[in-house]
Amino acid sequence: MIFLIEYNRLQGKIVKIERFDNLSRSRAEKIRLDIELDLSHKLINHEVVLLDAVSEKAVRRTHRRYFENVSQIAAL
């Protein structure tokens, strides 16, 4: 499963998340580029990243920063 995440680092929040099946990587990459071009035109500095994992649970475990605030990350 592929996840396309647009992340606002200053606010520490996901702006947009899109999910794709594993056969749609090329389409996800094209959308990523479109988002980056659009952000560049608007002079907005967001992080746009593609991740692929076996499940959303897995991506939330390995990339908690995108999904959780500091206190949630620190919760043991």
């Binding site: 520490g12 990587r25 692929d52 994992a53 500091v70 990350i73």
Partner: protein, 240 residues
């Protein structure tokens, strides 16, 4: 389309200067996509043959590439983490096992052990696989190393210097202290695992194990306390 090294590094210079146009973003996209096939091979091998669960990141984000170019004197063509993945395992024994499996699965690898040489407190092991002159970086972290790294990265969203030794001094001090405690804890954990695999019938070893376990309990309490201290400090700063 194959991009020459000269063109890639020229693109890197443009990104470093901050003069980025649509054509630069498109070229960067082409460059990142050129890792796709090798990336797929590496991640699929790790998933299917080694039965490990990496989260793949087929291409480093533009903002992360630009930050790295600003931070280091590296050329874009030299960056070894354009594509990669991350594996989080339970403990340091499992980390060692994962490193061994990945090292055996590929012909040309190099290992960067940040447990031995932490980067501003960051500890993990990065295995870099080279196939067809493309580098794919696999980060292998224990749960504790990962917790520390996620925490540091989250704080760096607000204060980017934190990850690289240039941020708020108090937070950095606390993070490095916490990293040392985790390191000590994991070293003991590894010793206990070693002993457990050797024998549990020997009385001397049993006593040693009990002693180690007591140390581990104390260290774990220290880790939790340090973490809470940082959170308490952090909440005053209103970091998201």
């Amino acid at each position: 389309m194959k991009l020459s090294k000269t063109r890639i590094d020229h693109l890197g210079d443009q990104l470093r200067k901050g003069t980025i146009g649509d054509s630069d973003l498109r070229t960067l996209d082409d460059y990142r996509r050129s890792f796709g096939q090798v990336y797929e091979t590496v991640v699929q091998t790790i998933r299917e043959k080694l039965q490990l669960e990496p989260t793949g990141r087929p291409a480093k984000s533009t903002s992360s590439i630009i930050e790295k170019l600003h931070r280091e004197s590296i050329r874009l063509s030299q960056m070894q983490d354009i594509a990669g993945g991350r594996i989080v395992v339970e403990n340091i024994a499992a980390q060692e096992h994962a490193i061994t499996l990945i090292s055996r699965a590929f012909d040309d690898i190099s290992i960067v052990d940040r447990r031995v040489n932490p980067s501003h407190g960051y500890r993990a092991v990065h295995v870099i696989v080279r196939i067809l002159d493309k580098l794919i970086e696999i980060q292998i972290r224990t749960v504790l190393q990962h917790l520390w790294a996620e925490f540091s990265e989250k704080l760096s969203d607000h204060d980017p210097g934190i990850k690289y030794g240039a941020g708020n001094r108090d937070i950095q001090y606390r993070l490095i202290n916490l990293s040392r405690i985790i390191s000590k804890f994991e070293n003991i954990e590894l010793k206990v695992t070693d002993l457990l695999t050797k024998s549990t019938t020997d009385e001397k070893i049993k006593l040693k194990l009990e002693s180690f376990q007591q140390e581990m309990d104390v260290d774990k309490e220290s880790i939790i306390k340090s973490l809470k201290d940082i959170i308490s400090f952090d909440s005053k700063k209103e970091i998201p």
